[in-house]
C-alpha cells in the first residue's frame, strides 16, 4: 500500500511547527501504524533528514505511551484501540493521512508528535492512591468485596493514562481520566476511607493545571482506547458534591461543639 503522510514537525517547544508531506510506498496491510512510521524514518535517515519523533513503547496497547491525532481523531479511526494497535489495513490504499500531536494547553509539545503529559502524574500525586505503607496489612481475604463492585472498579482502573480523553474534548477536560481514578478507588472498601479527601484534592489539582470543564459531549468515551465509561464522571460529580456537603456538615458540627 502507498500513503501520503502529512506530519506535524516541530523542533522543540519554542518552535512554531507545521505540517510536512512525505510519501511512503510498499507498506504491508498487516504492518502496524508505527511500523509504517518506522519505515518512513528509515527512509528519512537514509536521506539525511531528521526522523519523526513520536512516543511509543510497549506496542501492545497497554502502556499508554502512544498518542497521535490521526486524521483528526485521537488514536485513529478504530474504536477501543490505541495507535500502536492500529494496522494499515484500516486505511485505504493511496490515502492521505494527517498525523498531529495531542493539542491541549496542559500537554505542551516537546518535539514533533511528542507531548508532555506530566500533568497527569501531578493529578495522581494529589490523591490517586490509598495511604497504606508496605507493612501491617490485614489478610487479603479479610474484607470481602462484592464481585460487582470489584468488576466495576476494574473497569475504571483499566485507564492507561494516554490522554486521548483530553485530546478529544473540545474543552480539553481531564474529567474522564480523573473520574476513572476516583471511581476505581471509591468503589472498593479499601479506597472508601479517603474517598472524600481524594476527590476534592484531585479535582482541585486538575483545575489548577489548566484542564477545561466537562460539557457532556461524551467525545472522551467515544475516543478512549480502553472504552472507559462517562458514568465515571457522573460518579465523580456525585462523590465531589457529597464530599463538599459532608465537609460543610463537619464544619458545622465542630462549631456547635
Amino acid at each position: 500500500m502507498n500513503f501520503t503522510l502529512k506530519i506535524w514537525r516541530q523542533k522543540n517547544g519554542a518552535d512554531k511547527g507545521g505540517l510536512v508531506t512525505y510519501e511512503v510506498k510498499g507498506i504491508s496491510p498487516d504492518s502496524s501504524f508505527f511500523e509504517m512510521l518506522d519505515m518512513l524514518n528509515q527512509q528519512l535517515i537514509g536521506q539525511g533528514i531528521d526522523p519523526v519523533s513520536f512516543d511509543h513503547d510497549c506496542r501492545e496497547g497497554i502502556c499508554g505511551t502512544c498518542s497521535l491525532y490521526i486524521n483528526g481523531r485521537p488514536h485513529g479511526p478504530l474504536k477501543g484501540v490505541t495507535t500502536c494497535q492500529l494496522h494499515m489495513r484500516s486505511f485505504r490504499d493511496g490515502e492521505a493521512i494527517f498525523i498531529e500531536p495531542w493539542r491541549c494547553g496542559a500537554f505542551p509539545v516537546i518535539k514533533d508528535l511528542i507531548v508532555d503529559r506530566s500533568a497527569f502524574d501531578r493529578i495522581i500525586q494529589s490523591g490517586g492512591y490509598v495511604s497504606v505503607n508496605s507493612g501491617g496489612i490485614p489478610d487479603a481475604n479479610a474484607i470481602p468485596v462484592p464481585k460487582h463492585d470489584s468488576d466495576a472498579s476494574f473497569d475504571a482502573a483499566a485507564c492507561i493514562g494516554c490522554g486521548a480523553c483530553v485530546a478529544s474534548c473540545p474543552n480539553a477536560s481531564a474529567m474522564l481520566f480523573v473520574s476513572s481514578k476516583v471511581s476505581h478507588l471509591a468503589l472498593l472498601p479499601q479506597g472508601r476511607i479517603e474517598a472524600e479527601r481524594r476527590v476534592q484534592n484531585m479535582v482541585a489539582t486538575m483545575d489548577s493545571l489548566g484542564f477545561g470543564n466537562c460539557s457532556n459531549t461524551y467525545a472522551c468515551e467515544a475516543e478512549c482506547p480502553k472504552e472507559i465509561s462517562v458514568a465515571n464522571i457522573a460518579r465523580m460529580n456525585r462523590e465531589f458534591l457529597a464530599a463538599k456537603v459532608f465537609a460543610e456538615k463537619e464544619k458545622k458540627v465542630s462549631f456547635s461543639l
Binding site: N12, S28, D30, S31, F34, E35, D38, M39, Q42, L44, I45, G48, I49, D50, P51, S53, H56, D57, C58, R59, E60, G61, I62, C63, T65, Q85, H87, R89, K111, D116, R117, S118, F120, D121, Q125, S126, G128, Y129, V130, V132, N133, S134, I137, P138, A140, N141, P144, P146, K147, S150, D151, S153, F154, A157, A158, I160, G161, H184, L188, Q190
Partner: protein, 646 residues
C-alpha cells in the same frame, strides 16, 4: 578469584529470613533523612522499592526513561501473580511454591533466595489488595485463583488479562504518594548511562536528559538498579521498544558480575511473526493454555493444504490432529513449563508440521473449552486477549484456532546478587528482572510479578538498611568528585563518537542483524559450532557498527536514534557474553538447550555433577576476554531430579 558468597543465614531454610530480619542492622528515622538512595527504573521492582524506601524516610531519587513511571514494561504482564495463600485448599504451601520454583528453574537457582520469595508471596497479595488492586473475585466476595503452567495447584491471582497493569498502577500510586510527600523525587525521561563508583562503593549515576540532551550527575549513598531484562538483544521480543540493558551493562563494566546471561526465556504463546518490518512481538498470556489445546496436523498433506488456504483448520477432524503436548506429556499436558512447551513447538515446526503462511506457527484451540463452558465463560476469562489477537491478526479466535509461536519474553540471567540483593560492588543493588537470582534456568509463569514486588516491597528495604547503617556518618556525596567528572567525561566521549561516525546504516539495521544472529545461534536451541560461529559474526557486527552507524540529529536535543544507538551498542557486547556463557555451559537446562546434551527422545539433559553452578562473568576491559567465576549451588532441602512432566 572473586569469592562468590551469597551470605545466606545459617539454619533451616524456613527460618533464614526471619533470623536475617532479627539480626539486620537498622537506621534510626533521624538518620534515614540524611541518606540518599537512587533507584533506576519504575517497573514493579523499582516503583515498589522507591515507594517503600520513601515511606521509611530515606531520600529517594527515582529514574525512568519513559514519560511517567506508570509506563514501565511490567505493565504488559498479563496472566497473574503467584502466592502461596492456599485459598483454594488444594494442597499449596510455601514449601510447594518454593519447590515448584526450584524445579521449574531446572535446579539452577539458589535455595535460600527462592524460599524467601515463596514465604513473602502471601504478603504481596495482602498489600496489593490494600492498595486497591482490583483482583478477580468470586461471587462470595473473596479472591479468585487460576492455575498456571508448571504447577498442579491454583495459586495465581489475576486481574483479567491485565494483572501487570493493575499491580504497576498500585506501585505507581504508592510511589506518587511519596513524591507528593517529598520523600521521593522523580526524574522521568532520563537514560542512566553510567554508574559512578567512589572508593569502591556505588555512589551515583550519570544520566542523559532525553529532552534536552544534558548530561546530569546524581549522587547517593547507595544505588539500586531495577532496569529490567535484556530480551531486546534479540531485536524481536515481547519487551517494550525502549527496554534495554544499559544500566545493568554499565554496572557490569564497572565491576559488577553478570550471571547466567545465556538463560533466556522463550515464551510459547506469542503471535507469530508476519514480515520483515515487524518491530515487536505480542504475547498471548500463558493462562490461555488452561483452556486452549495446542495442536498441529498429523498429516503433511493437511499442512500443505492449510498453507495454500485450500482448507481451514476447523476442517481437520480430531483424528488427524496431533495434540503433541498432551501426547508427549500426559501428566501436565498443555500446562508444561514454558521452556518445554516452546521447544515442543519448535520441534513440530522444524519437522515440517508448522502452520500459517511461514510454517512457523501452531494452533491454540478453544473449541473444546467453548463447547464445555460456553462462549460467555471463555469471554469472561480471556475476552481482552481474544480481542487483542483479533486486532492484530484479523481472525476471530472464537471461530478459528489462534496461531501461536514462541518468542523471547524474559531473561533469567542478570546482575549477580547475594542474599542481600547486592551485586559484587558494595552499595550497588539489583532487583527484579535485572538480577539473576530466583528463577534459575527457567521462570514459571506468574512468578516475575511476584519476584519484582517481593524484592521491592519486602526484601530490599531490609537488606539495604544493613548497608546504610554503616553510612550514617557519610555526608551527602559531592557530584563534583573526580569520579563523577571522569564518568561524565567518558559518557560524553562515547556520545560524541557515536554521533561523529557519520556512517551509512541506521541503528535498526544493526539491531536487526544482531537479533538474527542471537535467534539463530543462541535462541531456543544452541550447539557448539553455531555458538562459535556467532562469536565471529558478533565481532564483525561490532566492528561494522563502530565504522558505519549513522545517527541523525544533534546531541543536545530530543534524539531517539542516539538513545537507540547507545542501547544497541550495549546489546552487541551483551550478545557476545551470552554466547560465551552458552558455550561454557555444557548441559541443557531450562531455557538453555544445547543440542549436544539431549536424551534420545529430545528431552534436555542436565549435568548436575559438572554444571550445578551459577556462571558469573567479570569484565576485564574492552579488548580482553571476560573471566568466568562460579558460585556452586548446594541443594540441601530439595534433591535435584531430571524434570519430568510426563
Amino acid at each position: 578469584m572473586i569469592n562468590l558468597n551469597a551470605g545466606a543465614p545459617q539454619g533451616p531454610l524456613s527460618e533464614q529470613w526471619a533470623s536475617y530480619k532479627s539480626g539486620c542492622k537498622l537506621v534510626n528515622p533521624n538518620n534515614k533523612r540524611k541518606l540518599d538512595v537512587i533507584v533506576v527504573g519504575t517497573g514493579l521492582a523499582g516503583a515498589s522499592a522507591a515507594a517503600t524506601l520513601g515511606q521509611l524516610g530515606y531520600n529517594v531519587k527515582v529514574f525512568c526513561y519513559q514519560d511517567t513511571p506508570r509506563r514501565a514494561h511490567s505493565i504488559a504482564a498479563q496472566g497473574g501473580i503467584n502466592a502461596a495463600k492456599n485459598y483454594q485448599n488444594d494442597g499449596d504451601s510455601v514449601y510447594r511454591l518454593f519447590y515448584d520454583t526450584i524445579k521449574g528453574g531446572d535446579y539452577r537457582a539458589r535455595e535460600s533466595n527462592v524460599y524467601r520469595l515463596a514465604s513473602i508471596s502471601p504478603q504481596i497479595i495482602d498489600l496489593c489488595v490494600a492498595q486497591g488492586v482490583p483482583f478477580a473475585r468470586e461471587y462470595g466476595g473473596l479472591l479468585a485463583n487460576r492455575s498456571f503452567g508448571g504447577t498442579q495447584v491454583s495459586r495465581t491471582f489475576y486481574a483479567r488479562g491485565q494483572t501487570g497493569q493493575q499491580l504497576l498502577i498500585g506501585a505507581y500510586s504508592a510511589l506518587s504518594r511519596q513524591i507528593a510527600e517529598g520523600s521521593v523525587t522523580l526524574y522521568n525521561r532520563r537514560d542512566i548511562l553510567d554508574v559512578v563508583i567512589v572508593d569502591g562503593k556505588a555512589r551515583g549515576v550519570i544520566a542523559r536528559n532525553l529532552v534536552t540532551g544534558e548530561i546530569e550527575r546524581y549522587s547517593a549513598h547507595a544505588v539500586v538498579l531495577a532496569s529490567g531484562g535484556y530480551g531486546n538483544v534479540f531485536y524481536l521480543s515481547t519487551n517494550a521498544m525502549g527496554s534495554n540493558v544499559t544500566p545493568a551493562w554499565s554496572a557490569y563494566r564497572k565491576g559488577a558480575l553478570f550471571a547466567n546471561p545465556c538463560f533466556t526465556q522463550i515464551h510459547p504463546t506469542c503471535i507469530p511473526v508476519h514480515g520483515e518490518f515487524q518491530s515487536k512481538l505480542t504475547l498471548m498470556s500463558e493462562s490461555l493454555r488452561n483452556d486452549g489445546r495446542i495442536w498441529v496436523p498429523k498429516e503433511k498433506s493437511d499442512v500443505e493444504k492449510l498453507r495454500k488456504k485450500e482448507i481451514k483448520p476447523t476442517d481437520i477432524p480430531e483424528e488427524r490432529r496431533d495434540y503433541y503436548l498432551e501426547r508427549r506429556y500426559p501428566a501436565f499436558g498443555n500446562l508444561v513449563p514454558r521452556d518445554v512447551a516452546s521447544r515442543a513447538a519448535k520441534e513440530r515446526c522444524d519437522a515440517g508440521y508448522g502452520v500459517g503462511s511461514t510454517g512457523l506457527a501452531v494452533y491454540l484451540d478453544f473449541s473444546a473449552a467453548i463447547k464445555r463452558l460456553g462462549r460467555e465463560a471463555i469471554a469472561a476469562r480471556y475476552g481482552n486477549l481474544f480481542q487483542m489477537y483479533e486486532q492484530i491478526v484479523d481472525e476471530d479466535p472464537y471461530q478459528t484456532p489462534m496461531m501461536i509461536y514462541p518468542a523471547v519474553h524474559y531473561t533469567m540471567g542478570g546482575l549477580w546478587v547475594d542474599y542481600d540483593l547486592m551485586t559484587t560492588v558494595p552499595g550497588l543493588y539489583a532487583i527484579g528482572e535485572c538480577n539473576f537470582s530466583d528463577h534459575g534456568a527457567n521462570r514459571l509463569g506468574a512468578s516475575a510479578l511476584m519476584q519484582g514486588l517481593a524484592d521491592g516491597y519486602f526484601v530490599l528495604p531490609y537488606t539495604i538498611s544493613n548497608f546504610l547503617s554503616s553510612e550514617i556518618h557519610t555526608p551527602s556525596i559531592d557530584t563534583g568528585l573526580p569520579e563523577f567528572e571522569a564518568a561524565a567525561k567518558s559518557v560524553r566521549e562515547r556520545l560524541d563518537s557515536l554521533k561523529n561516525t557519520n556512517g551509512k546504516e541506521s541503528v535498526d539495521h544493526f539491531h536487526k542483524k544482531l537479533g538474527k544472529i542471537m535467534w539463530e545461534y543462541c535462541g531456543m536451541a544452541r550447539n557448539e559450532a553455531g555458538l562459535n560461529k556467532a562469536l565471529g559474526l558478533i565481532a564483525e557486527l561490532k566492528a561494522d557498527f563502530t565504522a558505519n552507524v549513522r545517527i541523525p540529529g544533534g546531541l543536545n536535543e530530543y534524539n531517539p536514534e542516539l538513545e537507540k544507538a547507545w542501547r544497541v551498542q550495549d546489546f552487541i557486547e551483551l550478545g557476545e557474553l551470552m554466547v560465551r556463557d552458552a558455550l561454557q555451559r555444557n548441559e541443557s537446562c531450562g531455557g538453555h538447550f544445547r543440542e549436544e546434551y539431549q536424551t534420545p527422545d529430545g528431552e534436555a539433559m542436565r549435568d548436575d555433577e559438572k554444571c550445578a553452578f551459577v556462571g558469573a562473568w567479570e569484565f576485564r576491559g574492552s579488548g580482553s576476554e571476560p573471566e568466568l567465576h562460579r558460585e556452586e549451588l548446594r541443594f540441601e532441602t530439595v534433591t535435584p531430579s531430571q524434570r519430568s512432566y510426563k
